[in-house]
Subunit: 438 residues, 2 copies
């Protein structure tokens, strides 16, 4: 049986909570754990890419600094480079006179050399002249007519000097394997002289839709419908920074699904297949997965709403996520499992979704024992945030996810939330300001 | 004066809080407001891109649904399509018998027609046969040997039917201009038959570095240093989904900076220039901006730490952000101003950074009257989150931003936070689990 609109919204729960036909529903964290145990973190191959193309990629190795930063002792302030000892005792009341011996510009090698009693003018970022070990800030100096410098404050050795290697010492690890490269990392690596960098290969994620009713471009009178899941999931894969592989549509035929899935296992790191994942006689995806190799299906039926008929399996060491056909369910199950799986394989982490607190405008029912993703619209009104559950009755193909800007996730042990209660909402779009009513 | 390392860490504040040489520091929100008033939201040109390439792009127009979803009345449950009136009074104790007239598969046009007393088997997602107005769920039916169907529950008209247009009605706006397209939006638009979509042009953002001491590939003994700001900012521009334009490096020469900036204004939507933005005689960027056209500089000196010497200007309707040369300051000022500016020009919004609460492991000093970005490392230990300020003494080129995973932003009116206090940290990298001490 295909599954395009067959999952009832959570609020209906006309069946018992263990789900239609599923004898046991696995909590989502246990389901993920079972999958990860079977797919240990492999060594993902690395590739070398130009540094400026590496933004967002995952570092393949620890990177050590090939040089010191700063690369030489530098003035950290505008002023005069001196031997600190020569300033001891200087104060506004009793300044000390030093010989002005010229200056050091920025971006040039210092040519002057500071000896006992000398002072050389320096600018921030400029190299320290030989012999000097401190900088007197310009505010504590006065140049006199006869070529001397009056110093009205003492400095200790090293004061106002950026020492070579002070920021980054040659040979230390600046970025660890598994780091997702941010703009400042690119800047740092560029500063250190890297022009390319080893990053982990993008994971290939195959996406297959199944169902007799799905067609690429159906005639409106054909009884067929267009595919929602493939464009959604291919985009979601791209958003994760992975490489989507479009395996197309298979009708509800065992051998056709088997052929497509076998091909997908061969050419990708993770396989996503939608529909045919329930427990009816026409739901053959789990059996196909079992037919492809050991261990096959690990989990079938998860304790979440929507997306309960999700299955997780492994074939040839490749994880296969069997997603429901109902588009909202397919995408929410994707979000629950696939990003974590990708991070696990790549040995990295990602940022959580931003969370806001908002007052519920309507009661929300969870399902005891299940993790429920309620789609809500959070809006701001008079400086307060409010959350309206998006109506999900009827054949909500994807419109609840298009209208919503966040998930209110009701955990397994919570029955629901009351109207007026303050809840935490995970945002996937920004909060909008409510139009003032006229 | 070039500005590579010249901004002292906020904790030094050896000068008075109005900043070195700046007579007035503008609060960051006022500075941004002044800039936006001068650069009103323009109509950004749109371009048509293939739908599957539109992820993350900003929708150029409101999009209306060209068709109804579902495209036809569909069964929302497996069961029997009937005339609801024929089931009235049916119950487990007194079932009603209807004539079984065959069935409707999925993905085909129904050929049977339901008349008074008839029942046609249907599957979820399949088209409703003519004449039927409700579906009796299979759980409330029993097929008898003689070709009849025993119905043990009544249904009302419309029950278990997804009506044509119920999810999305033809002609309604499904996605509004200014929406940043998410995977589910791509799926929805694909379902509606869109193969391409009008999105706003990517904004072009030019990046220029200035400074005599900066060189693309300096010899280690030359007194020159490599450029950190351009690779960082070009990457940051890309991360915003904009198109970076590399304008290179200009030495501290008025006419050379002027030439480069004039070119940048001509070919981009926003111009970023680093260094030369303080108030010394060698800091000529503000004067160059004023020389290029009206209104020139609007704000010079902002009430934030680091990044105080930031300037904001407008030339030929194009915003120019004059960022400090000190790399940490340049990037933090970028984050404070440029994403908001991009959203303003594109008429869109973006998600906030995720925020976590963590206990401070060390005291943090703010600067009254300034918005202070403290770089912290948030880690998890024993189920609790802790925030350690990253040491920022010395010439912290970028290493504080490379080591940190979040910002503790101390607002203008707060003097600082005490050790042990719980603070909110905006994360830009995931929280790491602390290694247990041996």
């Amino acid at each position: 049986m295909a599954y395009l609109v067959s999952e009832p919204p959570a609020s209906h729960h006309h069946n018992d909570v263990t789900g239609k036909g599923f004898k046991h529903l696995t909590p989502t964290n246990e389901a993920l754990e079972a999958l990860m145990q079977e797919v240990p973190r492999r060594v993902i191959e690395v590739e070398t890419v130009p540094l400026l193309s590496a933004l967002g990629r995952i570092l393949g190795h620890d990177l050590m600094s090939p040089s010191d930063i700063p690369p030489f002792d530098r003035a950290a302030m505008d002023g005069f480079a001196v031997r600190a000892e020569d300033t001891y005792g200087a104060s506004a009341g009793s300044p000390i006179l030093l010989n002005s011996i010229g200056g050091v510009g920025i971006g040039v090698v210092p040519t002057v050399s500071v000896r006992k009693g000398d002072a050389a003018s320096v600018v921030t970022g400029g190299g320290m002249p030989q012999g000097a070990n401190a900088v007197v800030m310009v505010e504590y100096t006065k140049q006199t007519r006869n070529g001397s410098v009056e110093v009205s404050g003492e400095v200790h050795p090293g004061e106002n000097v950026s020492r070579i290697g002070e920021d980054v010492r040659k040979g230390t690890v600046v970025l660890k394997e598994g780091t997702r490269l941010l703009p400042q990392d690119i800047g740092m690596l560029s500063y250190l002289g890297f022009t390319e960098v080893s990053v982990k290969h993008r994971l290939k994620i195959a996406v297959l839709s199944t169902g007799n009713e799905i067609e690429e471009k159906p005639e409106s009178t054909s009884g067929k419908v267009p595919d929602v899941n493939r464009p959604t999931l291919l985009s979601a894969v791209r958003e994760l920074g992975c490489e989507p592989i479009d395996v197309g549509i298979a009708p509800d035929e065992f051998s056709e699904i088997q052929d497509k899935l076998r091909g997908a296992v061969a050419m990708s790191d993770i396989i996503l297949v939608t529909a045919g994942t329930s427990v009816g006689p026409g739901d053959m995806v789990p059996r196909v997965i079992d037919s492809l190799g050991k261990p096959g299906m690990l989990v079938h039926g998860v304790a979440m709403r929507p997306s309960m008929p999700t299955g997780l399996g492994v074939v040839n060491g490749k994880p296969i996520v069997s997603l429901p056909g109902y588009p909202v369910s397919a995408y929410i199950a994707f979000l629950e499992f696939v990003p974590s799986l990708v991070n696990h394989l790549l040995g990295t982490n990602s940022l959580p979704r931003p969370v806001v607190k908002a007052r519920l405008r309507r009661r929300v029912a969870g399902v005891l024992g299940s993790r429920t993703y309620v789609r809500v619209q959070v809006s701001e009104s008079g400086g307060n945030l409010f959350a309206d559950p998006v109506r999900t009755s009827g054949a909500g193909i994807l419109s609840s996810l298009v209208q919503a800007n966040g998930f209110l996730i009701v955990p397994e042990h919570v029955e629901g939330y009351e109207e007026g209660q303050t809840v935490e909402v995970e945002l996937f779009r920004p909060v909008e300001r409510e139009q003032a009513a006229k």
